[in-house]
Amino acid sequence: MAGSLTPTAHPTARPGGAGRPRTRLPALRWLLLRLGGAVFVVWAVATVTFFAIRLIPGDPAEAIVGGPGSQASDEALAEARADYGLDQPLPVQYLQYLGRLLRGDLGRSYALRDDVTTVIGENVGGTLTLAVASLALASVIALALAVWSARGGRAAGAVTSLLEIVAAAVPHFWLAISLILLFSSTLGWLPPVSVPGPLGLVLPVVTLALPLSGFLGQVMRESLLTALSSPFVLAARARGEGDSGVFWRHALRHAAIPAIGLAGWAFGALISGAVVVETIFARPGIGRSLLSAVQGRDVPLVTGIVISVAIVYMIVTTLTDLADRLVDPRLREEAR
């Protein structure tokens, strides 16, 4: 919906670009700076993660051979150390780690004895399906709430506002439990654990989508109301546009902009939610792998997932910034 936004629907769009005030940052320079910043953040995340896990008390070799109580022989420990490169000095380990990262190698899981990239590859599909479906459902609900509250008068505004706050405040796990109680235990309509197929997807998706729709709805309603009271709506009315034309063609498009800016945040919320939702519904995915890795202190798997999430997060935010600039001409004129 972002791409279809025309500059004429915009309050500050100036015809012919006359009288542009500040210096214009060339698009290419902006893009390079943005990409450089993204690479810096990923490097910093990798570094923070690398040194953070060195703070873990205890010998990592013991974790590899099966936890502190395993009473492994010295040879087994030495072998594990050599195997995972832990016998090297720390700076060497760090450089080797960065080198492996550049080649796309995230190390090997302690517990699963498998490459972290393989584990992620096996699990990413389930989480992606869940996240995309939830995001779609949440957007539909949020949009419906925003439209209803803007067009339904005072009472509708108060009701939707309350609904959004309650939805945003409900913890995923409690929502999941309540939905299981209602739709599985009592009504018997849907399976309590995620089974393959669309039926098993319903409860996890609804659980993940409802809190998200509360947050999205608040933002969309706010920007919709701001848009409805802004001069360009008045101008559209003055040109003889009808109520529904003003609403659907101008205000609603304008209200979409802040929602695009939330994409990075929504991604984080979906990943965090997936940890809980995938665990409750026993659904294979990144979130559940992350939780079991945290519980088992499977350091390579945790760091691998954290770094992958950071990379995807940076891609998402860079793309949304790019989309924002394409959609909103004001941002192109900003110079620092």
Partner: protein, 305 residues
């Protein structure tokens, strides 16, 4: 990293140009709404949510007054009883009364939420003021640091922290506090920057007030209003996230009468004994909704006046 999403005018969005100026807010008609009062009359929402929070606070401070029983008293003969007059919320696997445990759990649960918020907002205040008031290089450094922290979205930083320091009630509280700090810091920084460029601060400079006077008498009070809203909204969010960690077995451990831990203990019995998880969860929802409503209504009021 933000647990609170960047909603409304409080936040600068990810884009640099979007810092909202007071003039664009409010819209037509808001200026005419009533005269200013020193102590504004509370709205219905404000009063209702404040009352709920007061009741919860009483339960947290004097649990024995509200529910005289022992939250840890075991009665194996009365295990897994459904809600009844004797046990309005039922009993758990050891025959402990859930209502008593929920009341006694208010203290730890609210304390976790308050402490995590204090850690998050405290750190954020330091970072936000350093970035907003310090020299350019400090702002640059702090902003880059926040950007890095934002790349650990949601619970990720908390989970990494727990991997390093092990699960438990203290680590999960600190973890939630640290995860929320960058979001608050960005809001506080943008508020400081808005206040710095404001006409009233310019006026104070023209009047010859010193830097310390301007910061303590003009800038901080203006940031404090935002801070109050952030804290109110943050407590509810922190309770939800901390209890999520407890539920996942990374926070408070089951024998404790803490809402998240009670949920975790009831996890295995979800389908057979629903009351073990339903009621503690209900109270998490109630406290989160009440704090959010209070925060939002204060925010709406401060924007209107």
């Amino acid at each position: 990293m933000t647990l609170l999403p960047p909603t409304d005018g409080l936040t600068a969005t990810t884009t640099p140009a979007a810092s909202p100026t007071p003039a664009t807010r409010g819209g037509p008609g808001t200026a005419a709404r009533g005269r200013r009062r020193w102590m504004p009359r509370p709205t219905v929402t404000m009063a209702a949510s404040a009352t709920v929070l007061a009741v919860l606070a009483i339960a947290a401070l004097f649990p024995g007054l509200v529910a005289p029983g022992d939250p840890l008293a075991i009665d194996p003969s009365a295990s897994f009883q459904a809600p009844s007059l004797a046990h309005p919320f039922g009993t758990d696997e050891s025959g402990r009364d859930i209502l008593t445990r929920v009341v006694h759990g208010a203290g730890p649960s609210l304390l976790i939420g308050v402490s995590a918020t204090a850690i998050g907002v405290g750190l954020a205040l330091v970072f936000g003021l350093l970035a907003g008031l310090g020299p350019r290089w400090l702002d640059f450094g702090t902003t880059r640091l926040l950007e890095v922290l934002f790349a650990f979205p949601g619970l990720l930083f908390a989970l990494l922290f727990i991997v390093v320091y092990g699960p438990g009630i203290v680590t999960s509280t600190i973890a939630v506090g640290l995860s929320t700090a960058p979001g608050y810091a960005r809001i506080i920084r943008s508020q400081v920057l808005v206040a710095r460029r404001s006409p009233y601060l310019e006026a104070a400079t023209v009047l010859g007030r010193g830097r310390a006077w301007r910061i303590t008498r003009h800038l901080l009070p203006n940031v404090a209003a935002t801070l109050f809203v952030l804290v109110t909204l943050g407590i509810g969010q922190s309770i939800v996230w901390a209890s999520s960690l407890s539920y996942l077995g990374l926070g408070a451990a089951p024998p404790t009468a803490e809402w998240g831990a009670m949920l975790s203990a009831g996890r295995t019995y979800i389908t057979s004994f629903w009351w073990m998880t339903f009621f503690p969860g209900l109270f998490i929802v109630i406290s989160a909704v009440a704090t959010t409503l209070l925060g939002r209504s204060i925010q709406a009021r401060s924007r209107r006046s």
